[in-house]
């Protein structure tokens, strides 16, 4: 009885946490408002204006969006960005899945996990430069190897090759990271599920496709939303290597947006393109969650 009363008293008292809560979150709320919410609203506003930084923004309604939808470079950006995402996410997910299963089944070595994670800790720019050097047409190690076995040297940053090359460079950087996230998912699958499969005589491959993959689905959905939205924003690797070329084959959304803003001072137009990119990202994320039913788990059934 007295315990209940004490709890009740406590609950009443804890309502007054409003004051300390305000104090504790004040800096973070300030940061969120100044650097996320206000700029977000401003970005939306700017997308309806013509703004070159030197004069006040001029409201022009939907003109920027109309222009964007007729701009061949925007459609090109959509096309090459999709190319990048498809190659990058495709290979990364498959390789990371293989790597995660291998680590799960065959090694507990933290050293191996650490080594595989190192590329992720190194800046995008450095990773891009190192591969730019390894894949150099004249002096690069890879082309020297190709030469050694008497094949034609490969222009890795040419018109047909630049995008796949850049996509694979980032597969290299993110592989260990993605594999670790998947590994964490694998470790949540209870052992007895596998034991049951063994009793039923299911093979290794059947176990993987019949049990592991379906049970991993919520984790994979989470990881895919995370990696796909990141992938759509590809910028650094391209900025440090091809800068959008040759011609326009690597001129992705992020490259196009920064060029429109900082090279030709069209901040209004650049904002409109970035909002189009955000709408695409939101749509893709929703579709992914729906398709993969990411918020339901088969384990609870």
């Amino acid at each position: 009885m007295s315990q209940k009363a004490a709890a009740l008293r406590q609950r009443k008292r804890r309502k007054t946490d409003v004051a300390p809560a305000l104090v504790f979150m004040f800096p973070a709320i300030l940061g969120l408002s100044i650097f996320v919410l206000a700029p977000g609203l401003r970005g939306i506003y700017l997308s309806f204006t013509e703004y070159n930084v030197f004069q006040d923004p001029k409201f022009i309604g939907l003109d920027n969006y109309e222009r964007a939808l007729q701009d061949p470079l925007v459609w090109n950006a959509l096309w090459v960005t999709l190319q990048y995402v498809a190659i990058n996410i495709g290979f990364q997910t498959v390789f990371a899945l293989i790597l995660a299963v291998l680590m799960h089944r065959f090694t507990r070595s933290v050293l191996i996990r650490g080594v595989l994670l190192v590329p992720f800790l190194i800046s995008n720019v450095i990773v891009a430069l190192v591969w730019y050097w390894l894949l150099d047409f004249n002096l690069g190690y890879v082309n020297a190897l190709i030469d050694l076995i008497s094949l034609d040297r490969m222009p890795f940053f040419g018109e047909d090759t630049a995008m796949p090359t850049i996509a694979m460079i980032n597969v290299w950087r993110h592989l260990g990271y993605t594999a670790l996230l998947i590994l964490a998912g694998l470790q949540t699958i209870p052992k007895d599920v596998y034991e049951a499969a063994q009793v039923d005589g299911a093979g290794e491959i059947r176990t993987f496709f019949g049990i592991t993959l379906p049970l991993l689905r919520p984790v994979m959905a989470f990881i895919l939303v995370l990696t796909v939205t990141g992938s759509f924003q590809i910028f650094e690797t391209i900025a440090a290597t091809t800068g959008g070329g040759p011609i326009n084959v690597t001129r992705t959304f992020s490259i196009l947006i920064t060029e429109r803003a900082w090279n030709s001072y069209q901040f209004g137009y650049a904002s409109a393109i970035s909002i189009l990119l955000m709408l695409i990202l939101i749509t893709v994320a929703i579709v992914q969650m729906r398709l993969l039913r990411g918020n339901e788990s088969d384990l609870s059934r």
């Binding site: 977000g40 910028f235 992020s254 955000m278």
Partner: protein
């Protein structure tokens, strides 16, 4: 694949999951080794090139050890070599100020991360320990902020920094990071939700206020996780490029290492870049992260492994 199938089809009972056939094991270890080698090789090649002489690189592109070993490239990017020496070894003769860039990166990253993690932890305390109406709604706004693409915020934030006169200052580079990171708030809230509330209640009964409880109970209890967030955010801010490039590339005192490297590449002679110098610069910029990995490898691995699934 056939090996795996055949083995799986056999009715031979396995008492433990790990007891796999020798051939499958061999295949797995070969595959793991390939993954590890493919990961290590480019990093080794960066080191190998950084210790080579640029002019001698064409003579032996397949060499796995430095060609014509020299510390010249490292000296060059650190600004320790004279212009004549630099040109003799195939550098651009440009004087580089890597110490300054290194200091810029170190100061801005350390300052921004300490401040960010501290204020994020304070906010997480309000969301995870304190009880007040509307706290889930406001926390949701932070969750939402986590999903806003960076490229969308760079434009208006650049304009803001410009209006505040923070272009080409280290303060401008640091500022957006300093008050919070949605991820840090989210992660630490999860941690603080697990705080043993009876300790907090006891402290309140003893007359402790929330500032004391935060500093003397909740933070020390979550020391390991706070460190985890610190390391993750430190890595992210150190490697950041888009923001410091547009905000700070224009002045020596605000150029960070990653930005300087990007610029260094465009300065090197077209056609025959100073590869040894470029790789030496990359090595120096990567070194702090490699050092972090050597010192806190176990922690970094486990924190990344757990970062996604705690939520």
């Amino acid at each position: 694949m056939t090996i795996l199938n055949r083995r799986g089809a056999s009715t031979e009972a396995r008492d433990e999951l790990q007891s796999t056939s020798k051939s499958a094991r061999a295949v797995a270890y070969v595959a793991l080794t390939i993954f590890v080698l493919l990961t290590i090789f480019p990093l080794w090649f960066m080191i190998r090139t950084a210790l080579s002489t640029t002019r001698s690189l064409p003579s032996d592109p397949l060499s796995l050890v430095p060609v014509d070993f020299t510390l010249g490239a490292l000296n060059r990017v650190l600004g320790l070599a004279s212009s004549a020496e630099a040109i003799a070894e195939g550098g651009s003769g440009q004087s580089l100020n890597f110490f300054q860039y290194f200091a810029n990166s170190a100061i801005s990253t350390t300052g921004a991360t300490i401040s960010q993690v501290f204020f994020s932890a304070a906010a997480a305390y309000a969301f995870g320990v304190l009880r007040w109406p509307g706290r889930d709604a406001i926390f949701f706004v932070f969750l939402f902020a986590m999903t806003v693409p960076g490229i969308f915020l760079v434009l208006p934030n650049y304009l803001l920094a410009r209006e505040l006169g923070l272009l080409n200052t280290l303060a401008g580079v640091m500022l957006p990071h300093m008050l919070m990171a949605p991820f840090a708030v989210f992660f630490l809230r999860q941690v603080f939700l697990g705080t043993n509330m009876s300790i907090v209640e006891a402290a309140i009964i003893d007359g402790a206020n929330h500032v004391r409880i935060f500093f003397q109970i909740v933070l020390p209890l979550a020391r390991a996780q706070v460190m985890t967030v610190f390391i993750l955010q430190y890595i992210g801010i150190w490697n950041d490029y888009l923001w410091p490039f547009y905000i700070g590339a224009g002045a020596e005192e605000s150029k960070t290492l990653t930005v300087a490297l990007g610029v260094f590449r465009s300065q090197t002679p077209q056609g025959s870049p100073d590869w040894a110098g470029l790789m030496a610069g990359s090595l120096i910029a990567a070194l702090p992260m490699l050092l972090l990995m050597i010192l806190f490898g176990r922690k970094i691995v486990s924190s990344i492994q757990n970062s996604g699934l705690k939520g």
